[in-house]
Symmetry: C2
Subunit: 227 residues, 2 copies
C-alpha cells in the first residue's frame, strides 16, 4: 500500500517518520540484516534517517517492548539473541494462537478462499519447490498465513501473532531447509486446507497446531545444525 520513502531527508511527515524508522528496523532485524547481538547506535540511525536522537530513542524503546532488542543501561541497544529454549517458549504460545486464528478464519470467511489456495498447491507446485525453489513455499505460506489472520478479524490476535512472527522469522527460515521439512509441511498444508475448505473448523485448528509442532520437532532434532 504505502510506498517506501526513497529519501528520508525531506522531513515534512512529522510523527510519521518514527513509525517508518520502526518498520525499517523491524525489517532489518527480521531479515537478519543486523545480526543478533548487533549494536543499534542512536546517532548513526539519527543521521541516516535525518531525525533527532530523541525520536530514534522512541523507536528503540518500542522495539524493546516488542522484544526485538535488548537495552542495557548506558550501553545501548543490541538485537536480542534468542536461546533455543526461548524459541520453544515462543512456539508454545504461537501454536495456540495460530490455531485460534485458523478456527476463526474458517468460521468467518468464505470457503472458496481456501479452495483457491488448495488448487494452487498442485503437483507441479510441489515439484518446483522440492527441486530447490524453497522461497516459493515461503512466499505461498506467508500469503496463506496473512489471509488467515486477516479472516480471523481479531486485531489483538493479529498483534500478538505479528510479534511472535518478528521474533522467530529467521530461525524458522533455517528450519525450512532441513531434509524433508518442506515435503512434510506441504502434506500438512494440504490436509489443513482441505479441512478449511470443508468448513471443519475444529479439525483445521488441530491440523494447524500439528503442523507447528511438527516443525518444532524438526528444529529439536536438527538443533545442532540450525544454531
Amino acid at each position: 500500500m504505502s510506498g517506501k520513502t526513497d529519501r528520508p531527508e525531506h522531513a515534512e511527515g512529522g510523527r510519521w517518520e518514527v513509525s517508518a524508522l520502526l518498520a525499517e528496523l523491524r525489517r532489518r532485524i527480521s531479515e537478519h540484516e543486523i545480526p543478533p547481538g548487533g549494536k543499534l547506535k542512536e546517532q548513526e540511525l539519527a543521521q541516516e534517517f535525518g531525525i533527532s536522537r530523541t525520536r530514534v530513542r522512541e523507536a528503540l524503546a518500542a522495539l524493546e517492548t516488542r522484544g526485538l532488542v535488548e537495552r542495557i543501561p548506558n550501553r545501548g541497544a543490541i538485537v536480542r539473541r534468542f536461546e533455543l529454549g526461548q524459541v520453544f517458549e515462543i512456539y508454545d504460545v504461537r501454536e495456540v494462537l495460530e490455531g485460534l486464528a485458523v478456527r476463526r478464519a474458517v468460521e468467518n470467511a468464505d470457503p472458496g478462499v481456501w479452495t483457491a489456495f488448495l488448487e494452487e498447491c498442485d503437483a507441479e507446485f510441489e515439484r518446483r519447490i522440492t527441486s530447490g525453489q524453497i522461497e516459493l513455499y515461503e512466499t505461498y505460506f506467508n500469503r496463506l498465513r496473512k489471509t488467515i489472520i486477516e479472516a480471523a478479524a481479531n486485531p489483538v490476535l493479529k498483534a500478538m501473532l505479528d510479534s511472535v512472527q518478528d521474533q522467530t522469522q529467521i530461525i524458522m527460515r533455517r528450519v525450512l531447509v532441513l531434509p524433508g521439512r518442506v515435503e512434510h509441511g506441504l502434506t500438512n498444508l494440504r490436509r489443513l486446507l482441505e479441512a478449511m475448505a470443508a468448513g471443519r473448523a475444529e479439525e483445521a485448528e488441530q491440523l494447524r497446531r500439528l503442523g507447528i509442532r511438527s516443525a518444532i520437532e524438526d528444529l529439536k532434532r536438527y538443533q545442532r545444525f540450525v544454531l
Copy 2:
C-alpha cells in the same frame, strides 16, 4: 537540599524511576483511578514524579505499545476506552492463553499445590463469598492465577497474559458482581482444581477455557448493566 524536588535518598536510580512511573500508571489505570478517556498530561506527571517531560513521554510510549493508552498526535495521551467488541476479541485470545498456562502448569508443578488450593475452597469459604465478600473471591482467584502462570514457566506467555489482564481487569471486576456469577465461578473452579490435582492436564485446560467462556457469556447477557 532546599530545592523543590528533594527526593528520598534512594532516588538516584536513574532509569529505575521511569519504570516506577510506568508501574504506577499501570496501577492507576487498572484500578480505574484514572477513568477511560481520562487525560494523562505530561507536565503534570513530570512535576508529580520530579522528572522531566522527556522521561514521562517514554513511559507514555511504553503504555501505548502495551495498549493501555491511546496517543493522538498533538492531542496527548488518554486512557484507552474499550468497546465491548474489543473485550470479546481480547477474551478470545485470553481463553487459549490461559488454557495453555493451565496445561503447562499441571505438567510442571507438584499436584499438592492444587490440592492446597482446593482445600482452601471449602463450604465456609463459599458461604463467606456468597454472603457478600466478593473481594475474597477476587483475591483467591488472583493468587491461584498467579501460581498457575508461575508454574507454566513461560516468560513469553506470562508477558502476554499480563498484557490482557491489564486491559480487562476493570470490566471483569464488574462481571463478578453479576447475579450468580461467583457461584458459577466457584463451581467451575472446584472442577478445575480437581482435574489439576489429579494431573489431568487436557481436562484442566478445557475446564479453564470453559470458565472463561462462561464469564464472557454472563458479560454478554448483562452487557447493558456492565457498560
